[in-house]
Amino acid sequence: MPVPFESLIPFAIISGMFLVTGTGIRYAQTKRNEGKVARYSLDDWDRKMLQRDKQLTGTERGQIDDPVAPAEFKVNSAWK
């Protein structure tokens, strides 16, 4: 007697749930990071650089490469 199809349904459900979790996590992370992969293993330097990037561009993952900063950059660091 061949393998009954009913026994493979739980496998399909489990794999489907893995797919759902993976896709959901990837969607949430790309939404938070403007379409880029999330940063990991951040040390103090990276955290302070992300904060500086937020002052320059408004978001932590935005990047610009002008040599000279706009005039607002001199005064827009928030007091913590």
């Binding site: 990047q63 610009i64 706009p70 005064v75 007091w79």
Partner: protein, 150 residues
């Protein structure tokens, strides 16, 4: 971040608009974010070696920000100059490299191909070579290694 006395006032909204004191010379700030700076870091390092070392030695004496303002201005101007030079000749390769870095957690080892293009362009334009200070001289440097196979 709650500032004392301001219970529902976010720290990010508290911006101090007073300009710096008038007796300090005006110097522009470097406008690049993290990925372009990392991409250009070794070239800024070779160009601005003396100014950077001066600043670090000055900070070593005294951590007070007021003590090292002069050396800091020189460092900023040199970095701006280095970035302007890179962008005048090799802007496309530079952009390709830092865009790659941005997507790979700013890991230099994962973006060797764009980096090769940038290094060649800068070598032909200015004669700059990316050099790791303190690397052993008997083997090729890490960014110049070639695979043993293929």
């Amino acid at each position: 971040m709650v500032n004392p006395g301001y219970k529902n006032f976010k720290g990010e909204d508290w911006v101090d608009p007073t300009p710096p004191p008038a007796h300090l010379p005006l110097v522009d700030e470097v406008g690049s974010t993290g990925a372009p700076l990392k991409s250009a870091s070794f070239f800024i390092g070779t160009l601005c070696k003396e100014y950077n070392e001066d600043f670090m030695l000055c900070k070593n004496e005294n951590r007070n920000p007021e003590h090292c303002l002069l050396e800091g201005r020189k460092v900023t101007r040199c970095a701006i100059d280095a970035l302007q030079k890179i962008q005048s000749k090799c802007q496309d390769e530079f952009r390709a490299h830092w865009k790659c870095l941005d997507g790979k957690n700013q890991d230099l080892g994962r973006c060797r191909n764009p980096e090769k293009g940038l290094n060649e362009c800068l070598f032909t334009a200015f004669g700059w070579k990316k050099d790791l200070p303190g690397a052993p001289t008997n083997k090729p440097q890490i960014h110049e290694r070639t695979p043993l196979t293929s």
